[in-house]
């Protein structure tokens, strides 16, 4: 599909060497903004889930991994939309040379593997810029490319832990071993990655210079916690876990509604909100003067929560939401990522979901882009994730101008391909159905 010319990055080609979330989401966002993202994979090492998943493996269309599970894995297909797939065996001279040829036709190379992976292929920034001096090249290891942790392995949850965010998460009445693992920093690395790349593109237009972008996933995320680090220096006490509560708003919490595992979040942000709220709840137990101040409500928070829960527990969560919002009382229903969000009227009215036809996985409404541009008039790009090696011919023939003989040789030497080789299974995270 021809990319829409009005998109911010539609003149740009980027090479993605990435797995899991941070790098792939970075490519996904740039793809949504019109960039041509060529995901460089290999048939020697598969980052698309297991090649022969067990029969109970979840996450495949209709629970059927099919004959080509690597093209049908739900997480992969959701986050690799709007990309092309090229397979290359970078451990061979032919594969490496093809990559170098492709670099000369590209604007950006980005990688979220461990820091030394590209260097070991002979594709360090210094090598790559010999081929294309104005290349923009980004490595995004967990702790950055320098310092004592430069070669430490990490994942989103590791960054969540080391930045202090894990310490502040969780139920205040339980210890940290009850914490779930959260990988949110992966996504932050992706948005910061796009930010850095876009800025480097502006810089390149003005000066002709490329850049090496040293992205630390930890530092990226730490800019989202800045006030917490300042509090420690400005106050005589440190922030402790707050759960669903807030120092300036009370009551605040998540309350049970009718149905299974249905909840509503409510924040009372002022005394004026409180007086509207208690009138809506209409329970005399809330009428005490003591509750008319923030301090009083905080002191008796558990008692107030009990009354609110009694009020919400027999009601439909959306009824409570609409009633509270009609008074501009801060509230929101807890939506899950499945049926709730697909049924949400607001997300639907904004066309958040996009029907996507995938050649192997079928036709499904998938999560759409997160940016809306006036200039697009509602037209969003949403091409399916590529099948493995789907665009080998396009890249080798059309972008690089290789002849048929050379391409046939690439196939024979297993430099390219569309089916994983035996031994290429890297496993990977996946769900177990039900």
């Amino acid at each position: 599909m021809k990319l829409c010319a009005s998109k911010p990055l539609s003149t740009i080609r980027a090479l993605e060497l990435s797995e899991i979330w941070a790098g792939p989401f970075c490519g996904c966002l740039m793809g949504n903004m019109g960039a041509e993202i060529i995901k460089v994979e290999s048939i020697q090492r598969i980052g698309r889930g297991p090649i022969n998943p067990p029969s109970n493996a979840g996450g495949y269309p209709d629970d059927d991994p099919g004959n080509d599970p690597w093209n049908r894995q739900s997480n992969f297909n959701a986050i690799n939309r709007n990309k092309k797939s090229l397979t290359l065996d970078l451990k061979t001279e032919q594969g490496l040379n093809a990559f170098k040829d492709l670099v000369s036709q590209s604007d950006i190379v980005f990688c979220n593997y461990a820091r030394t992976v590209m260097e070991n292929f002979g594709l360090s920034y210094d090598e790559v810029r010999k081929i294309k001096p104005d290349i923009i090249y980004m490595l995004m290891p967990g702790y950055g490319n320098t310092g004592p942790y430069a070669d430490y392995r990490s994942m989103g949850m590791a960054i969540d832990a080391i930045t202090g965010h894990s310490f502040l998460r969780g139920y205040p009445d339980m210890d940290h071993s009850s914490n779930s693992l959260v990988h949110h920093p992966d996504a932050v690395a992706a948005t910061n990655g796009v930010m850095a790349i876009a800025s480097a593109l502006v810089h390149r237009t003005k000066t002709g210079e490329g850049q090496f972008i040293d992205m630390s996933q930890a530092e990226s995320f730490m800019t989202h916690l800045g006030e917490i680090y300042l509090e420690n220096q400005m106050q005589s006490f440190s922030r402790q876990r707050r759960g669903n509560r807030h120092p300036d708003f009370a009551p605040q919490g998540v309350y049970k509604c009718s149905g299974e595992d249905n909840w509503i979040a409510i924040s009372i942000k002022s005394d004026a909100d409180w007086s509207k709220f208690k009138a809506t709840v209409g329970n005399n137990n809330l009428n005490s003067d003591v509750f008319d101040t923030l301090a009083g409500r905080q002191q008796h928070h558990d008692q107030i929560d009990k009354v609110i829960n009694e009020w919400t527990c027999s009601q439909d969560r959306y009824d409570v939401l609409n009633r509270l919002q009609s008074d501009q009382i801060t509230s929101g229903v807890v939506l899950d990522c499945g049926s709730d969000s697909y049924a949400d009227p607001h997300l639907n009215e904004r066309d958040f979901f996009q029907i996507v036809e995938h050649p192997s996985a079928g036709i499904y409404p998938m999560t759409g882009p997160i940016f809306k541009f006036e200039s697009s008039n509602g037209h969003v790009i949403h091409n399916p994730a590529p099948c493995l090696g789907q665009d080998n011919m396009y890249v080798l023939k059309e972008v690089l101008g290789y002849g048929t003989d050379k391409i046939t040789q690439f196939e024979a030497n297993e430099i390219i391909g569309t089916v994983p080789l035996p031994g290429s299974d890297m496993g990977g995270s996946r769900r177990v159905a039900k």
């Binding site: 911010p8 740039m30 979840g58 996450g59 269309p61 959701a78 986050i79 950055g144 310092g147 942790y149 990490s154 949850m157 832990a161 080391i162 930045t163 202090g164 965010h165 894990s166 310490f167 502040l168 139920y171 071993s177 009850s178 914490n179 959260v182 949110h184 796009v194 930010m195 850095a196 876009a198 800025s199 810089h203 630390s216 530092e219 800019t223 680090y229 300042l230 509090e231 922030r239 669903n244 919490g253 979040a265 801060t330 929101g332 229903v333 807890v334 899950d336 990522c337 499945g338 969000s341 607001h346 997300l347 997160i370 940016f371 809306k372 541009f373 496993g427 995270s429 996946r430 177990v432």
Partner: protein, 406 residues
């Protein structure tokens, strides 16, 4: 000097909430000149959970963080004169960042579709809780209630208890970051075409379209898999080692682990000096390790009990096992990695206090890191901005001051 990629770009920051303010701050870190336009009363975030230091009320930590490096101009935005002054500023700016309810600027003649007539290449970035359209567009929100509506909350916490938010203001920061990335991408297009644009960024959609949520939504739509909260130590994935997943107590705190599958088992056995377990009939394959999870967890815990986070961190890195110590926030800026990279910078504020503040979320090879500057006091740069951008005379500025427009 800040990194020059976006130098000479003038950003008008009209934000009064976190996400839009962080969007503007991020653009500032890449070299934009960010002019914060405040009402005469000031950004409400100045007084957000404001702490007192020696009894003195200061701007809040969140304000100081979000506005480091910005300039402040304060004006009466309710008055016609103030609005006309703002229109003049929009005319000479490159980017406007705003967070008001949809329709707010239209009434004042200051919406994108009105301003683009006087400045066709302006980029207007609106960062609002639910976007410019749809039934929730005027909903009241805060981090808790918005986070609930993104899909992120439903999975956080224990199955038999209420769902939890993350700590901090995570959804709003994330959306601010995403909005900055989209704005910078649009700035790039503008360098080629001269075209402006209006960006409608919904904080809800940013979090709902985040990999965490995408990764849960896809198995639902492909195969009807539900998305419940689970026990923290039961890995959602059958491919992971079941006993060393999650957060564990150790000698001086807590440590998080996420071994990535059966191939990690030998690494773990070696790490805890129990290679004998690799051939033990109770533990020699994934299913058996799963069935004997409690016993293995006890062995693992015994190894952890007399070790510090630091010792465990060295051990997991040597063994190639994904894991990381949980630091307390006050430990973060003392961490050797962040010190080695000079991530935090000492910044002296107008009240004389020196604070260690977060630096750049990136390093670029061709330029030095940003020098982090303190947040401005209210209206600190009013005169300077009006002189430099609108070439106003001292008399004109004095007249506006007398009329209480600025």
């Amino acid at each position: 000097m800040p990194f020059g990629a976006l130098e000479e770009i003038i950003v008008l920051d009209l934000s009064d909430r976190l996400a839009a303010s962080f969007c503007a701050k991020t653009l500032g870190l890449y070299g934009c000149e960010v002019i914060k336009v405040e009402s005469l009363e000031g950004d409400p975030l100045r007084q957000w959970t404001s702490p007192t230091q020696n009894g003195q009320v200061d701007d809040s930590p969140i304000f100081l963080h979000l506005n480091a490096g910005k300039k402040s101009i304060s004006m009466d935005l309710h008055s016609k004169k103030g609005q006309s002054l703002l229109a003049d500023l929009m005319k000479v700016s490159d980017v406007v960042i705003e967070s008001q309810k949809p329709g707010h600027w239209e009434e004042k003649g200051l919406a994108y579709n009105q301003i683009k007539n006087i400045n066709p290449s302006i980029i207007f970035t609106s960062v609002t809780p639910y976007g410019q359209t749809g039934p929730y567009k005027n909903f009241a929100y805060d981090e808790l209630t918005l986070f609930a509506m993104t899909g992120a909350m439903n999975r956080e916490g224990l199955p038999d208890r209420e769902p939890l938010r993350y700590a901090g203001e995570i959804a709003q920061y994330f959306a601010g970051n995403a909005a900055a990335a989209a704005t910078a991408s649009t700035l790039f297009k503008r360098t080629l075409t001269g075209e402006g644009d209006w960006l409608d960024i919904s904080i809800q959609e940013c979090m709902a379209g985040h990999p965490h949520q995408i990764g849960r939504r896809a198995p639902y739509i492909y195969a009807g898999e539900p998305d419940p909260r689970s026990q923290p130590r039961t890995s959602a994935s059958g491919a992971r080692e079941p006993y060393a997943v999650g957060t564990f107590r150790c000698k001086d705190g807590y440590f998080s682990f996420l071994p990535l599958g059966p191939r990690m088992w030998p690494n773990i056995a070696k790490m805890i000096n129990r290679e004998d377990l690799m051939t033990h009939p109770k533990y020699d394959d994934t299913i058996k390790r799963s069935e004997n999870k409690d016993e293995l967890e006890a062995i693992f815990q015994a190894w952890l009990n007399d070790k510090t986070r630091e010792e465990i961190f060295k051990a997991v890195q040597a063994a190639g096992v994904p894991g990381s110590p949980i630091l307390q926030p006050e430990e973060v800026h003392k961490n050797e990695q962040f010190i080695a990279r000079d991530f935090f910078q000492d910044v002296t504020h107008p009240n004389g206090q020196t604070l260690r503040m977060t630096g750049d979320p990136f390093r670029l090879s061709n330029t030095a890191n940003s020098q982090i500057e303190p947040a401005p006091t209210l209206g600190q740069n009013t005169t300077q901005v009006l002189q430099n951008l609108l070439h106003m005379s001292n008399d004109e500025i004095e007249a506006l001051t007398t009329e209480k427009i600025i």
